[in-house]
Symmetry: C2
């Protein structure tokens, strides 16, 4: 059994659809540093948690990096979302032609050693919010290869395109080789 | 002699104009956590630094909290500034009538014990950038009691109104009582 340390049930649902392993959601708050990369945030979190949890566990951090906004909201995506939401992002993107953006997910797994898995979804910022599935910036992100936003996709479809799905598949393959 | 651990020379100049003590700028990077308050960020930083520095030291963290944006950019002010700058903030504030905002500074001093000093400057977000002094959001913040933005003030004048000036005066008074 592996713990997924998170307070976000959407993330738990997405990842549990990919991992065949028995995973359990565990809510333990841990410090998230103001780092320049998700990897640093995850590494710091794991170092904080590793002596507080018995047994293997993983955490996940993700962010939306918009090219025209120099990577904003980036590693602070969830905080920024709480303040200005998708409407704030769309306002910042008004009149912006280059709408390229990247969703990134980093999963950090710990079982005595630490292993990081990164997934990236390339895409663009929609002109308006579409769909009410998923969470956060899902209604304004259109992954390359689709016309839909993540907000318009069921979990299975989102997982095929998404940063988190890609990172989770890497974790899955790692765990299979481990056994 | 007291160390001010910072990499921001503007902050160093502002605070050194208030403190009569001999202070020295010391650049040691320390983790800044994604906390809900500046106090938590400062406390975490001091706990990281306290075994790495010989002698008394202080750090300072500050943020701009805009009421209509639910406190954004808040504790992530410097990161947000690097991405979207004052133009981004002004864009988010387009058409917003309530322009109330608060600049907050927290100084954490350590000499074996930890002491926090908070300064607040109430004011509003200007309609456009004015002035080229100071740094960061100074050109778009007008403190109550003035018509000027911080960007239009010399350091001495800014210190009279500013969050950082108020926190530095509290630290100064504390140090005087200590001696």
């Amino acid at each position: 059994m592996i713990y997924f340390v998170t307070s976000n049930k959407h993330k738990y649902e997405e990842i549990s659809k990919i991992l065949q392993h028995e995973i359990e959601m565990l809510h333990i708050p841990y410090p998230e540093i103001q780092a320049n990369s998700l990897e640093e945030v995850v590494e710091y979190g794991i170092n904080y948690l590793k002596n507080r949890i018995n047994g293997p566990f993983f955490i996940e951090d993700s962010g939306l990096f918009i090219q025209a906004l120099k990577g904003f909201p980036g590693v602070f995506s969830s905080y920024v979302f709480k303040c200005i939401g998708n409407k704030g992002i769309l306002k910042l993107m008004e009149g912006v032609i280059d709408r390229k953006a990247q969703f990134m997910s980093v999963i950090g797994f710990y079982n005595g050693g630490m292993y990081l898995f990164r997934g990236i979804s390339e895409g663009k910022i929609a002109e308006e919010e579409r769909g009410d599935r998923g969470f956060g910036y899902d209604p304004i992100f259109i992954p390359n290869g689709s016309q839909k936003t993540f907000g318009e996709m069921e979990i299975e479809e989102k997982n095929k395109f998404s940063h988190r799905g890609k990172a989770a598949i890497k974790l899955k393959q790692f765990l299979e080789n481990l056994l």
